[in-house]
Amino acid sequence: MGFERLEFSISQINMNGNCFIQTGRTLVIGICLFISTQYVAAQEIDLLLKGGHVIDPKNKISAKMDIAIHKGIIQKIASNISEKGAKKVVDVSGMLVSPGLIDIHTHVFTGPNAGFGHGSSSVKPDDFTFRAGITTVVDAGTSGYKTFPLFKEQIIDRSRTRVLAYLNVFAPGMVGTAAEQEDMQALKIEEADQTIKKYSDNIVGVKIGHYSGKDWKPFDAAAALAHANGRPLFVECHITEFSLEDQLNHMKSGDIITHAYENVSERMPVVDENGMVRPFVLDARKKGILFDVGHGGVGFWFNQAVPSVQQGLEPDTFGTDMHHNSVNAGMKDMLNLMSKYLNMGMQTEDVIRRATWGAANVIKRPDLGNLSEGSVADIAVIQVLQGNFGFLDAAGFKLKGDKKFQAELTIRAGKIVWDLNGMAGVPWSKDLK
């Protein structure tokens, strides 16, 4: 590392001055080396975030700290890093500095079809991630083994957001008609297994959802496929024939149920008629089943979420279920969803933890969601606004609040990809063109 930098610096100096020819070689090389060392020291940090309140749950940090970024990774995190060696310094005092957020429930397989799979109901990740502090999304089974290569080529490989996926247990994913999407003939477990192994960097779990049959085979096959690959099962909605209790019983510790706080006819809500979280749901949590919000258009109801928080069924993760409707409805974006929980009484550190390190663990990607030195520099700088705000649920009800998260600066692999108020900009002056 140091040697490489040194070489680079010498060649820079040689290009800039002809000192070799003019004077004695050894002396000049000595001087060059001396200068180059200084030069290297002066250029060590690409970006220094100074004075922010860092929340890094993995490393148990919630304190004022500086963060130095170099070559796309977190180089150093300490209480007072000198500005001297930094190419760019951004003053983030008064802001929260968090690992880039991880949204574990999205639909981002856009394309020309109607509907979600390769369709216009999905949204492109970069359009809605960085402005909300998100640097990683997980697509929730919009593709299956047959459509995953297309998804990878058109979306995963072309997005600046890190895009991961749960593979749909059904071959087409959410492409095609409802009948095609849950055709038992399209339950090709071996092919799906090969796909998971081939794309093990991208696929973090297996999804079952949008299944209206009475046969448990797809559900159980999806679970077995996930577990055989050391990954969680992600249980989405529209599984009309199975009770909530049975679904939870067919899941194992580490599996995820999403739309946890929805209140729709096709699945029993987690809170009963008397406002109590059902005991079997609390048992499932004890067993290690994970509860994701999956807000979407109809997946979040205050009459479920508020009692759940009060009675110990807080969400493990803040999956947004972002799609073309939810981004304009009550969900809006992940920070808006997190703000709902902030105003429902959850502590800031706790909210950030579930959106970062918590989510990373849920998808078994401990390389993500933290600010450890040496990890990829995915960072969200968040301002907590004070004021009068309103938050909408799927039933059309509003929760009033006085706090709201706002993404000021988002950094993905060391690059600034969102800068709401030009914090990292160069102040303009009249002398400039």
Binding site: G111, D127, Q154, N328, L420
Partner: protein, 429 residues
Amino acid sequence: MQNYFKTAKNRVLVLFFALLTLNVSAQEIDLLIKGGHVIDAKNKINTKMDVAVKDGKIFRVAADIPASSAKKTVNANGLYVTPGLIDIHGHVFHGTEPDNYLSNSQDALPPDGFTFRAGVTTVADAGGAGWKNIDLFRKNVVDKSKTRVLAFMNIVGGGMRGVDTYEQDKADMDPKLTAASAKKNKDFVIGIKIAHYIGHDWDPTDFAVAAGKIAGIPVMVDFGKALPPLPLEDLLLKHLRPGDILTHAYRYDQEFDKSGKMIEHKQAIVDVNTKKLKPYVWDARKRGIIFDVGHGGGSFSWGQAIPAMEQGFHPDVLSSDLHTGSMNAGFKDMANLASKFLVLGMPLADVIAASTWNPAKVIQRPELGHLSVGSEADIAVFRLREGDFGYIDASGMSIRGKQKLEAELTIRNGRVVWDLNALSSPSVK
């Protein structure tokens, strides 16, 4: 219902219908926006007014409309109520065609995710499609979006498929076919676009103007990168017609040529040495040339905008040049862009006019961009936030400002399509 059986049938029925009638007349308004400050340039309104919406149309605009007459009332005290914004320079011909720049491609964006949250209800695509793929544009974008989508058709038959290749092909620029297609699709085609041409000749510009003449619609020019540059003066004073549009008005493009001389690709409107607006730009404005912002990823420079604004040269139209390169950069959204001009000293009423009634006139759509009774209820409600905000231009230069417009509520065709703080919803019990 029990009363029905207890007493005389007829009397009860009469009473029942009387109540029913009362009920209907009492709540004839679907949505009432109450107490906001209305800015409607066409109707010269810039004062506190209530706005009533019924059946998707503006039903009434008046000083005090009783809330009892409305099914739903939004308290807009302290907020600004304007016509839905019109963005005449977006790139919304989204699709999956690889390496196709802004035509059925991934660099263009589905409109709804970017319009409503910024108070925009109408967007015109700026030349993504030409006559060869305008039908696909209609099918994939116009018909599938909740945002009203219009289009400037590219003079290039294949549309905006690639700057260095397809868009240089004069053989694919046919004024007659383009005009014929524009006329056929006049329900959403509102202009002709010529962009990115780097040849040192005027043919493509003249082709576009010819098409515009036949179809009776304006031409929007994204002045290309000819080397040596073509004179902007000639474009504005000789080639364009009054009513034609220069977009990227505040762009500053520079590059060193082989001899080390600084060249302005697209000649700027402000002389960067004297900081003065070039005299012919004033002449062009007098002539009726429209100056459009078209911010985009690389087309807005404080070094142009600030001196121009100081010298009183305000834009005629604010527009986005929305695409993947601008959505997360200095542009962000139309409310952010409008805020920039507020911060540069443009009065709020003028900023709103330049985003509503002005563009409606420019694209010859006088039914849009105002709140006249009977017109389609496309409405934006803005909060003017006070605080310490920052704004960046295309080159990463920032200025500070004390104001920022934020879209609270957007209504398209009478329906709430964006509600930032749930203003139109009841509180949880």
